[in-house]
Symmetry: C2
Subunit: 462 residues, 2 copies
């Protein structure tokens, strides 16, 4: 079986933990593995790593690649040059599969950022869906509603099929009253955005119902790279697969998802899946409380002290603190949008940025300078690079460094320092078994991440 | 007139803005001047600077001195070697005045950390109190209660005097019912801890009612320094002036304070004196809100984003975030006590520490190193010093530095760096007109503020 992971999500819902440049699917919610990695592993039970295609915006390409490479180097990541909703993304991955496998192969399409703990139940559902997919259906995985949620779309089923139901129609997010009725009627399911079908069947429906997308597919060129050409993608309409295909096709079936499911679409839904203490609190990190109940207090770095509050979410990150009422966590999106209009960096980036070789944290900045703490993981190295507008000064805090500067090598221990003049070709390397930590002081008339010329890079970034 | 400022307060009530090492009186609540500085200026209207004696714990001596020196170099600060409540502190300042002035001089004793905006009203009250003090009364400044506060002591008045009342008795913090009765009876006042009387009268009452304190006074030696000798102070009982004198003396009168008054004893009382926006919020710093009402949101450094909360206080500082219900802000003390038992640094120090020459902020620390950002104000310099256990490495970020290292001078510009080896005699100086900012990397087997040998210091700290 082939699999597609849709990894286009934005960072607004779980802000400030998620950011535009580090959305929800990249976060490790409970365990060491991110939601993306958990999704990949789940699919890897029935698809070979090379048969799992992840599609994402080009701005997340590196981080996605970095995470998936830890699981298997065989993964395929297709990069969208701009955001175009799910229909074009799915169509392009189907086109990729059409060229690289059998048209009658079955493909399973899943979001990258949903939480599913019961893997057996999920696998069971995949088996039942496969039976219908083999018969030519496009099968959606419906989630049995447990309360009248107004934030999801619903799917109304009709006649029973061998292992599922025919779908009568897709319905938009209902109001509370309507959602309550759906719940009581029993034949409505939440639309979790999981689909399965033959490549040929999917593409046929695209041809029929979304010709504006379909007609551009043969212009795609994956021969050199898995990055979709801007000129091709730009011509496709921005539309969801539900609108484009699912609501129109008469080949849709539904199987009931046999596992737990949570879209982690808000801080409240994240709270819901976590283990609570006796006061009903979920506490993470350096936190002290006094008479706090049914709350989610998350500290990433600094101490958070809370007294006499109930039903609140408080999240501390290095550069932003968010506090809101538990049952209004959808308003986090409003805060995010406000900040975005203020061009606040806190919607875009974390203070700590991950790279293939480790990570860095910006410390101070001012007129003509910027300081960072840089951590280089064991056996990793930064590219050989130079800067046209800034000099750098490095001081080793922990571990040992090998510094290459204009073809000379320097071996630095903790406490040692070195100057990298403007335009010098240099590389910071850690060939040792311990982490290397340094302070970097950048100095110049123009200080920006884009002032970098890469000559050689073991992560393919030249 | 002589004046005494009692500046012994701890940092628990307005934590995390106040700290053990930086209590409320040192904070600038609204304006550029701290509560201590405001208090000093208020007294300076009728006492010469050299007639205003501030008494504080020795651990706050430097910060107090630093702040008062900005107003007048003539100020006198007496340092207590340990905390002993108000009675011993007042007795020692009275003894200081007895030796340095006329016994019949009048002295006004005030706390250092109360907010009074109406200086004219305060001055008027001082004048009316003076009339009674001249007649041999110890005059307390009573605050007319405006609601049944249970957190203050009350003073019950009886017969009217020329400009005030006789005092029938001092009463302890009442319960709510009792406080309500006091309020309706009309002859009860809040005890604000402001007193006036002749030096001789005060000391007479100490002799009569607090002989354990009084008998030690003649052992005090102010000839070399204004730091009280440990051996003398240690023998005095720890007791408030209310218990020791006021509740027992029959010479107590009361005048009604003619000005506004707020003891800023909690975040709520601070909120109460601040200007609100249309939603009833007090917002300070980088804050964004969505549907927030009647709340106090304070950001010192990082962004604070709040949605759908009412009646809350949220305070962000560099190393601690505090959130609590507005009408329960006295529970901040409970958080503070919990943290103290956990030996959390956040109760003691701020991440940014002020020094006579400027300030520093600790950035990272780890096994064998510590990094700081140091700011040296124009025309200031650090002492000539050396360290036995650590080397230092300095990188100039902003401004220019003069570095003295083993009697050699180095002139550093932004971007320049220098190594200070273990045991080297060195000094960081800023003889220029702009602020100097550097990064310091300390490296060694023992890194602590006490590894310092000072050879020469323009602030008298050798």
């Amino acid at each position: 079986m082939k699999s597609v992971i849709l990894a286009g999500g934005s960072g607004s819902r779980l802000w400030p933990l998620s950011r535009d440049m580090y959305p929800k699917q990249l976060l490790a919610i409970d365990e060491d593995n991110s939601l993306l990695q958990q999704t990949f592993s789940r699919l890897n039970n029935f698809s070979a790593a090379s048969d799992i295609v992840t599609i994402t915006n080009v701005k997340h390409y590196s981080d996605i690649k970095l995470q998936l490479n830890k699981l298997s180097k065989e993964n395929v990541v297709i990069a969208e040059p701009l955001g175009k909703n799910t229909a074009p993304a799915i169509a392009c991955t189907l086109e990729y599969f059409r060229r690289n496998s059998n048209e009658d192969d079955i493909v399973l399409i899943v979001p990258s950022d949903h939480l599913i703990n019961d893997v057996d139940g999920f696998n069971k559902t995949v088996k039942t869906a496969e039976i219908l997919a083999q018969k030519g259906y496009i099968v959606t995985f419906g989630i049995k509603p447990v309360y009248p949620e107004t934030g999801y779309g619903y799917i109304k089923t009709s006649n029973a099929l061998e292992t599922g139901y025919e779908v009568e129609r897709f319905v938009e997010k209902p109001d509370f009253e309507t959602a309550t009725r759906y719940l009581s009627e029993g034949n409505y399911y939440w639309n979790g955005g999981i689909f399965m079908g033959k490549i040929s069947v999917f593409l046929e429906e695209f041809g029929k119902y979304a010709p504006d997308i379909y007609k551009n597919l043969d212009q795609l060129d994956f021969s050199q790279s898995t990055k979709i050409q801007y000129g091709v993608y730009e011509q496709m309409p921005s539309i969801s697969v539900d609108y484009a295909i699912m609501e129109k096709s008469d080949k849709i079936a539904l199987v009931e998802l046999q596992s737990d499911w949570n879209d982690l679409g808000s801080w409240q839904s994240l709270y819901n899946v976590k283990q609570k203490d006796v006061c009903g609190n979920v506490i993470t990190g350096k936190v002290v409380t006094e008479n706090v109940k049914n709350s989610f207090i998350y500290s990433q770095k600094e101490l958070v002290a809370v007294a006499d509050l109930e039903d609140v979410v408080i999240v501390e990150t290095e550069d932003a603190i968010m506090a809101c009422k538990m049952d209004k966590t959808q308003d986090v999106k409003k805060l995010y949008e406000k900040l975005k209009t203020q061009q606040s960096d806190t919607t875009k980036l974390h203070k700590t940025v991950f790279r293939p070789w480790g990570y860095y944290t910006c410390m101070n900045s001012g007129e003509g300078y910027l300081t960072k703490t840089i951590c280089v993981l064991p056996k990793q190295k930064l590219s050989i690079q130079s800067h046209n507008h800034r000099s750098e000064h490095w001081v080793v805090l922990e571990g040992k460094a090998l510094v290459v500067k204009d073809d000379e090598k320097f071996y630095l221990n903790a406490g040692d320092s070195i100057d990298i003049p403007i335009k010098a070709k240099h590389s910071l390397q850690n060939p040792y078994d311990e982490e290397l930590k340094i302070i970097e002081v950048q100095k110049g008339d123009y200080i920006s991440e884009d002032d970098i010329i890469r000559y050689e890079d073991c992560y393919g970034r030249v």
